[in-house]
Symmetry: C2
Subunit: 410 residues, 2 copies
C-alpha cells in the first residue's frame, strides 16, 4: 500500500506548539507494520470542543461515540488509530470505543465522555482492541507539545503525504494560534465533513460558538471537496480550544466582531487542509478547481459544481489533458438544477471556449492546450440565469485510482 | 477508438423482418472512416410511435426535435447518425434537424414532423449537415426489410458489440413480432432511458397506449442500468408500431388484458437490450447485479441499489475481485435513504457475509472468492426495514474505462 507521493503534494509547514495541547504517536501494530498508527492528544482542563461528522447513514462506532460526547462540549483527550475504521462492527465496535475511552480517561485523569475517538481504515473488520489498548500507556508517557508532524503521519492510510496547516489570529489585543492536521485520499465525497481532521487552538471560546464557527468553516472547505463521490462512514472534524491564551472573554452570543480574525484564520486552516485532501486524491495527477457563476442560487451553484467535479467523464478527460467542454455541459445538465443550454458559457484556464450555448468560432486553443498540461486545471461555467456562485475542488480520475482501489484489502 | 469486444459480449440474435419496417445503413463519413455511420428506417403509413428521452437539462437538438414530433404520435421515418451527437450546437444544431427532416420527408413522401432523428457521438461540435444530407438518397434507395444487424452496427460509438433483441407476442389469436436495437457504453446513468434504442413491432397499438407501455418498460430496464452515473444529453428510446399485423383492435383505453403478453415481450426486449448496455460498459470486465430487499419502499430500494451500482469504490473492488462488503455498506449509507446499520445484511454470490450489522463469524469465504473470479457478480443487500425491493445492473470500473475516456476525442 505504499504509493509514491502525489505530484500535487505540498510540504508540511512548521507547526508550533499550542498551549494546552500535547501529542504522542506510537506504533500499536493494529494493521500496519513498521510505522506509527496510533495518536493520542491530551488537552488542558477547560478545553472546549466542536465537531462535524459524516452524513452517511451507516456511521462508524467512533462517530456515534463522538456525537454523544460532544453534548458536553468538553474534551480532555483524543485517541486516533489508522488501519481499521471500526465501522460495521456491531456490538464489538461499541465496546472498543467504551474500553478505549475508559482506559484513556484513567491514564489522563478525566471522564470517559471527555475522550474523543476516531478510527480510519478498513471497514467491516473487528478492531483488535487489546492491541490498541496495550499501546495507550506508552503513548501517554511520551506526550509532547511539538509532536504535530508525527501525528499528521500516523493518521494516514492511503494518503501519500502528511497534511497540516497553521495560522495565527488576533482576538482583542492578543494573538492566538491554530494548528490542524487532516487525512483523506479516497472515499471523499460532497455535502459533509470529510475523513479525519483535527484542529487545536489556544483560544478560549465557548463550545456553542466554536461549533458554529466549525460548521460554517467546514461548509466552505471540506464540504467543497470531492475525490470520488463516495461518502465515508468515518468522516470527523474536531476543533479543540484549550483556552490557554489570554484574551478578552468571548461571550456565548454576539461574538461575531470579536472573532472576525479568528474566523478568517480558521477558514484558512480548513481551506488549506481540504485542498490538501483533493491534492492527495487517490491517483490524482491534477488538482481541479470548478467555479460556477450565474446560477439561480449559491446552493444551486454548489450542486452544479459538485456534479461537474464528480463526473467520471469530466475527470477522465482532464486526466487525458482534453478540455472536453461538451462533457462539462453534460454534467451541468445532469445536476437537475435550473439551467438553460442556450445560455451556458464555459471557460478552461480563463479562456472562454463556449458562450451562450455554442462553441466560440475560432477561439484560440493554444492557451487551453497549455493549461491542460499543467498540474492545476481551472474550469469556469457561467449558467447565465442569476447571481449564485460556488467553487469546489477535486482531482482527475486516473489509472492510479483503479490500482489503489482494486487491491486495497489484498 | 477500436477496442476489443467486451468479454461480456453476447452474439446478435437472428432478427426477423417486421412488416412495415425497412432499414438501410450507409457510410456517410460524418466522423468515422470505413464504416457505416448513418441508418434510415422507413415505416409504413399508420405507424404509431412512443418515445422516452433523457432527463438531462441540456438535451441535444435531436431530443428536442423528437419530443416535439412525438406530439402527433405518428412516424414514417427515423434518421440516426453516429460520431456526432449534435448537442450544444445552438442554432446550427436546430437547423441540422430541420433540414434532415425536410430532406428525409421529401424522399419518403411524408411530413417533416413524421421524421424522427437521433444522433450520438462527440458533444459540442457542429454536425456536418451537408455530409449527412448527401448520404440520405443513397440510404433511401437501399432500404430493405431484413437489415437489422447492419443498423445495430451502424449506430455504435464506443460500443464493442452490436446489441439486438427480438420476441414474439400474442394479441388475441394473432402473433406479433418485436425487434429492437440499442447502443450505449459510457455516459450511461440512472433515472432515465439510456442512450439510443429503437424497437419496432408490427402490432397495431394506439400511440397513447404505446407510450404507456414504453414508459413502464423503460423504468424496469434502461432506468435500472448504470455504467458511470453520467447522464447523456442524447438518450432516446423510440418504439414504433407499424400496425401491419392482423389482430383484434386495441382500444385506446382498457387494453391491459389484451396486451398482457405484448407487455411481457416488450419488457423482455428492453431488458435484454439494457443488460447488453451494461455488458458493454466502457472497460467492463464483469457484469454486476445489485439486489436490494427489505427497504421501506421500491423507490427507496432502487435508490440504494443505484447508489451501490454507482460507487467507484464498490466497482473498483469488484474489478479487483475483492468482495469488499464494507464498501457496499458505505454505499448504502451514502444513499441517504432510510437504513439502520445494525439491521443490514450483505450477500455476495448468494453467500451471506454479514447479518444484522456485523460480519458472520467464520462464514465460508471459499464460494465468495470463486464467485468474485467469475464474469457475473451478484450483490444482495437486505435493509431489514420493510418490503421494498429493486434490482439494477452495472459493470466494474477498470483501467479500460480510463483508457477509453482519457483519449476519446484525440
Amino acid at each position: 500500500m505504499a504509493y509514491p507521493p502525489s505530484p500535487l503534494a505540498l510540504p508540511l509547514p512548521e507547526m508550533p506548539a499550542i498551549a494546552g495541547v500535547e501529542i504522542a504517536s506510537v506504533a500499536a501494530g493494529i494493521r500496519y507494520k513498521g510505522r506509527e498508527d496510533m495518536t493520542v492528544f491530551r488537552f488542558a482542563p477547560g478545553t472546549a470542543v466542536a465537531g462535524v461528522f459524516t452524513r452517511n447513514k451507516c456511521p462508524g462506532a467512533p462517530v456515534d461515540w463522538c456525537r454523544a460526547a460532544l453534548a458536553n462540549g468538553k474534551a480532555r483527550a483524543l485517541v486516533v488509530n489508522a488501519g481499521n475504521s471500526n465501522v460495521f462492527t456491531g456490538r464489538a465496535g461499541r465496546e472498543t470505543c467504551e474500553r478505549t475511552a475508559k482506559d484513556a480517561a484513567a491514564l489522563i485523569g478525566c471522564k470517559p465522555r471527555e475522550v474523543f475517538i476516531a478510527s480510519t481504515g478498513v471497514i467491516g473488520e473487528r478492531l483488535p482492541t487489546d492491541t490498541l489498548l496495550a499501546a495507550l500507556p506508552r503513548a501517554v508517557e511520551s506526550l509532547a507539545a511539538d509532536a504535530w508532524p508525527a501525528a499528521a503521519r500516523a493518521i494516514m492510510t492511503t494518503d501519500t503525504f502528511p497534511k497540516g496547516a497553521t495560522r495565527t489570529a488576533r482576538i482583542g489585543d492578543s494573538t492566538v494560534t491554530l494548528c490542524g492536521i487532516a487525512k483523506g485520499s479516497g472515499m471523499i465525497a460532497p455535502d459533509m465533513a470529510t475523513m479525519l481532521s483535527f484542529i487545536a487552538t489556544d483560544a478560549k471560546i465557548p463550545a456553542p460558538v466554536l461549533q458554529g464557527l466549525l460548521k460554517k468553516g467546514c461548509d466552505a472547505s471540506f464540504n467543497c471537496v470531492t475525490v470520488d463521490s463516495d461518502t465515508s462512514t468515518s468522516d470527523t472534524v474536531l476543533l479543540f480550544a484549550t483556552g490557554q491564551a489570554r484574551h478578552p472573554r468571548v461571550p456565548a452570543e454576539g461574538a461575531a466582531t470579536m472573532l472576525k480574525d479568528f474566523r478568517r484564520a480558521l477558514g484558512e486552516v480548513l481551506h488549506d487542509l481540504a485542498l490538501m485532501v483533493a491534492r492527495d486524491g487517490e491517483g490524482a495527477q491534477k488538482l481541479i478547481t470548478v467555479n460556477v457563476t450565474g446560477a439561480v442560487s449559491a446552493r444551486s451553484a454548489h450542486r452544479i459544481a459538485m456534479c461537474i467535479a464528480n463526473s467520471p467523464l469530466v475527470k477522465t478527460a482532464i486526466a487525458g489533458e482534453d478540455a472536453n467542454w461538451g462533457r462539462i455541459v453534460m454534467a451541468v445538465g445532469k445536476a437537475g438544477e435550473p439551467a438553460d443550454r442556450d445560455l451556458l458559457s464555459v471557460a478552461v484556464g480563463g479562456t472562454w471556449m463556449a458562450r451562450e450555448g455554442g462553441v466560440i468560432p475560432g477561439y484560440d486553443e493554444t492557451p487551453v492546450v497549455a493549461h491542460m498540461k499543467g498540474r492545476e486545471v481551472e474550469i469556469t461555467v457561467d449558467i447565465g440565469l442569476g447571481r449564485g456562485r460556488a467553487t469546489v475542488w477535486t482531482c482527475d480520475l486516473t489509472h492510479g485510482y483503479i490500482d489503489i482501489n482494486g487491491s486495497y484489502r489484498s
